[in-house]
């Protein structure tokens, strides 16, 4: 196994994913297989190759910094799990 449980726990924390014990066991096995599989790239000679930035070679487009959209907060917040007075509610962050 190229990854152990501790590494997978670290990755899951980075990804903010809560996993069950069963999921951890399966993830160690399957993620190790995936990492082993993609490791074949390390054998490729990529000296002086510029990493791809855009598949069609286009540059990032810019636009003037104008106000283009109106505030539609109430409409968008209809999908929010918990809101009060236009504010999103989360568990207490500060004591």
């Amino acid at each position: 196994m190229s990854l152990d449980k501790e590494q997978v726990q670290h990755i899951a924390m980075l990804a903010r994913l809560n996993l069950s014990d069963e999921e951890y066991a399966e993830s160690v096995e399957k993620l190790s297989k995936i990492v082993d599989f993609v490791d074949q790239l390390s054998a490729v000679d990529t000296t002086d190759v510029v990493p791809m930035a855009h598949p069609v070679d286009a540059a990032q487009r810019l636009r003037p910094d104008d106000v283009t959209a109106t505030n539609d907060r109430d409409h968008y917040q209809q999908n929010a799990p918990e809101v009060v007075d236009g504010l999103y509610l989360v568990p207490k962050v500060l004591e």
Partner: protein, 486 residues
């Protein structure tokens, strides 16, 4: 002929002649969905009320002489496209309660052209899968054999078109998610050039690879739809500002002199023999029509799958970080603190394959591994794109099989991610290089359809569509209909 068996082009003519109205057509198809979809599970949401209302206004517009390119034609949207006021789940528990507050550009353009939405099609969760088995809403079944997968991730779109529940459907393709299910269901699937069709409102998986396209029954129908879907969109920062040609204009022209490339390096390991033979037969048909074949070199093509499985998970892990249980989507109950809210909302809301890809992405992007995996993969990706560029100096398109085998049984590959990933070995290269590519039905193996894969240079859609259409003038594989859905 029965309405449900007609192509978009035929239906359009029928509406023009007044053989039937859009309301009659829409009702006929809604009745078929109600009667048949229990077997397939191709739909997540059926929008009967909205469809009939849209059909009625299309009929009114037609009577008044306002006839959009898709006026009154019923279609299905993959449930990855945001549809205003309609549930948009992306095949996930995470978005099971999400009513989109806006339309994707593709949805808006098609609505403006008069299209009628029958419903939203089932798909692999967040488009991550090649068999439609990762959907929170259960797998879709293949109309040609209900024990088989229709492919994925646009499995519901492909199955609904193959089963004649809809004449056409939208799809998205990140590594083969339009073309592989098209091949496995005997339908036509086109993935346009990266940037040709707007990604605005299309729920993001891997943004440098994702592209919207369509599944239809003929290349001609794909041309009709692409004309509506394509074009610059200032709301998509990677949209390409280039004029949209009339894709229908040139499809009638001969393919005499077309140079068809056949890849020398494609390893045939894992290619089911008869599936490969059907693709060779199809290339022979193109030759009989005046095309010439040329062997081309893509020396790095076998690295496309491992390259993809670094780039796509990396981008997926960034894109899916937006699901936090705070602003929209699934939220865990009784969270102890903010971290617990994030971790449990995401742990509960995402399925196994999505979690696996997020974690793969988090790993390859994490401190100490970024250069070894992500930068390395983007370098190999450049090598693969350069190979294609060189090949297209000598040929007009590249042809081969779309998938290594016909449809496999549901459950067969679900436990082995690498086996599942290798399904996309022939399709992934086009995504990595941003190229347009299409699958057209080219025969059967043990009564299951297989596809011919055509890849073109950037913005080569017209030529792909012409080649596909001309092939379909010589063959009738695309007309075959599964017995149970006639």
């Amino acid at each position: 002929m029965d309405m449900h068996r007609q192509t978009l082009t035929e239906l359009c003519a029928g509406l023009d002649k007044g053989d039937f109205t859009s309301v009659e057509l829409t009702q006929t198809l809604l009745d078929r969905v109600a009667a048949q979809d229990e077997k397939l599970n191709a739909f997540i949401t059926v929008t009967s009320t909205e469809a009939l209302a849209a059909a009625a206004s299309a009929d009114k517009a037609r009577a008044a002489g306002n006839i959009g390119a898709l006026n009154g034609l019923p279609i299905v949207h993959k449930d990855i496209f945001c549809t205003e006021g309609i549930k948009t789940t992306c095949g996930s528990k995470m978005l099971d309660n999400f009513i989109s507050p806006y339309n994707a550009t593709v949805v808006q353009k098609m609505a403006d052209a008069g299209a009628v939405i029958l419903g939203k099609s089932n798909m692999d969760e967040f488009a991550m899968g090649s068999s439609n088995e990762t959907s929170f809403f259960g797998p879709v079944r293949n109309p040609w054999n209900l024990e088989c997968s229709p492919g994925g991730s646009s499995g519901g779109s492909a199955a609904s078109v193959a089963a004649r529940l809809a004449p056409a459907a939208t799809g998205t393709d990140t590594g083969g998610s339009i073309r592989q299910p098209a091949a496995l269901t005997g339908t036509v699937g086109l993935k346009p050039t990266y940037g040709r069709v707007s990604r605005y409102g299309m729920i993001a998986f891997a943004s440098s690879l994702d592209q919207a396209g369509m599944i239809t029954r003929s290349a001609e129908d794909a041309a009709r739809m692409l004309g509506v879907m394509a074009g610059f969109d200032e709301r998509d920062s990677t949209s390409i500002d280039q004029a949209v040609p009339d894709y229908l204009a040139g499809i009638g022209e001969s393919i005499k002199g077309l140079r068809v490339g056949v890849v020398r390096q494609h390893s045939d390991e894992g290619l089911e023999e008869r599936t490969g033979a059907r693709a060779k037969d199809a290339i022979a048909v193109l030759e009989s029509m005046g095309a010439t074949t040329v062997e081309v070199d893509l020396p790095n093509i076998d690295l496309s799958v491992p390259t993809y499985y670094v780039v796509a998970p990396a981008e997926c892990s960034s894109n899916l970080s937006r699901f936090d249980g705070v602003r929209f989507g699934h939220r865990a109950e009784n969270a102890e603190d903010l971290l617990d809210l994030y971790c449990r909302s995401r742990g509960e809301g995402f399925g196994d394959e999505v979690k696996r890809r997020i974690m793969t992405g988090a790993y390859v992007l994490s401190a100490g591994y970024y250069d070894a995996y992500y930068i390395k993969a983007q370098q190999v990706r450049q090598l693969i794109a350069d190979d294609f560029k060189k090949a297209f100096a000598d040929v007009d398109l590249i042809a081969g099989p779309t998938a290594p085998s016909p449809a496999f049984k549901l459950g067969d590959k679900v436990d082995d991610p690498i086996q599942m990933y290798l399904n996309d070995i022939y399709t992934i290269g086009a995504n990595l290089a941003g190229l347009p590519a299409m699958s057209v039905p080219c025969g059967f193996v043990d009564d299951m359809p297989v596809g011919l894969h055509l890849v073109g240079p950037h913005f080569g859609e017209e030529m792909l569509l012409r080649c596909g259409h001309q092939y379909q003038q010589e063959t009738d594989w695309h007309i075959a209909c599964p017995e149970a859905f006639k």
